[in-house]
Structures are given as C-alpha cells and as structure tokens.
Amino acid sequence: MTLHIVSKSPFSSTALSDCLDAFGDGDALLLIEDGVYALSGRMAEQPAVKPVYCLAADAAARGLQIPASVTAVDDAGWVALCTEHNPIVSWFK
C-alpha cells in the first residue's frame, strides 16, 4: 500500500490535510522536515490515521518530543518503510 511522506507544517500548509483526504486503509504516513510539526498538534493525542511514522532527526532538530502514538524512525527505517510500501507519494507544498 501507499506510503505518504509529508514535509510541510500543518499550521501553514494544507499538505497534511490534502494527504489525509487521499489516505487509504493499509496506507502509512511518514512525517519529515517541517511535517514533524504535526507532532505538536492534535496528531499527538489523537492521530487522524495510522500508522504514523516520523523521522527522529527532523523532530530532534526542531525540539519536538515524539508522542507514543507515533513511531520514530532513523534513516535506515525510512528506507525500510520505502521498501515495504509502494507507491510512495510526497506532499511537499
């Protein structure tokens, strides 16, 4: 199933909400770059979808904690997610 990669803040871009509109059963969501700011919003307590992954390095860069509902991955984990899913859709604007 599809891996959706979101790289923009949900507070200034509709990238995440557009992605959620196109999110199917069995799909997975990976937050990278400014996409990790979703961790500081509602996503933290009550994720709209699951599973939700997040690049640990991008969260750490921004001073964000990763809530229990979200799985932190390193770069090798990112690659693994990409091998386990297809297609891979980037939401970057």
Binding site: D18, D21, G24, P87, I88, V89, W91, K93
Partner: protein, 120 residues
C-alpha cells in the same frame, strides 16, 4: 517491464513553474509510450479553468500543454471531486477538448493502483 506512472498535480498554474514542469514531465513519459496518467488535486484543479489569459504576466498559457496530452496518448485526466467541491467548482465548467476529465471520489484507491507517483 511496464510501470504505471501517476503524476499528482497539486499546483495552481503560473504562481510557480511546478504546474508547467509537471505537465512537461508527464508528456515526456507519454512520448516514451509509458502508461502515464494525471490526477489533478488541490489547487491543481485550477489548471483546468477556462479562459486563462497570461499574456500580461508574460507567461505562456498552460492550455497548450494540456492540449498536447491526448496527442501523446494521455486521453483522460483524473480530477479530485473533493478538491473541486472545496473550491466551489463544477467539472462541467472546466476546459473541455480532447482531454476527457474523469471525476475521482476515492483518490486513495486510485493512487494505490499505480507503481510510481511523481508529485508536482
């Protein structure tokens, strides 16, 4: 080995070059006789508004690129119904021509049916 490619086009025309460069990429794939489809979604649906007149902003109309699609075998384009509704647009008011617009309610299922997705 044939791969089915979907171009996910989410950008309005003219404000940045991604709308144009996305269409150019999909034309190149179609010209190589690949299976290349398009899904207009988000602000990408604005690419299909009729009567675009960008001469005064010194740009070329995107219509030419859209009209080239059927010539290269891309005879239909998918368009996200929800994105249209959010923008108060009706599919019947969008540009018609050789390119047939197909409304899509379940874009998740559509996306999942492709081998590769290029986002624009």
């Amino acid at each position: 080995m044939t791969k089915r490619l979907l171009a996910l086009c989410r950008q309005a025309p003219y404000g940045n070059a991604l709308a144009r460069e996305g269409l150019e990429a999909i034309l190149a794939a179609a010209a190589m006789e690949q299976v290349a489809d398009i899904l207009f979604c988000g602000d990408g649906v604005f690419q299909l508004l009729p009567e675009q007149l960008p001469a005064d902003i010194e740009q070329k109309s995107l219509q030419r690129n859209l009209q080239a699609l059927p010539v290269f075998g891309v005879e239909q384009a998918f368009i996200c119904s929800k994105s249209l509704a959010q923008r108060g647009l009706d599919i019947d008011t969008l540009v018609q021509g050789e390119l047939v617009l197909v409304p899509v309610d379940d874009s998740a299922a559509l996306i999942a049916s492709y081998d590769s997705v290029l986002s624009f």
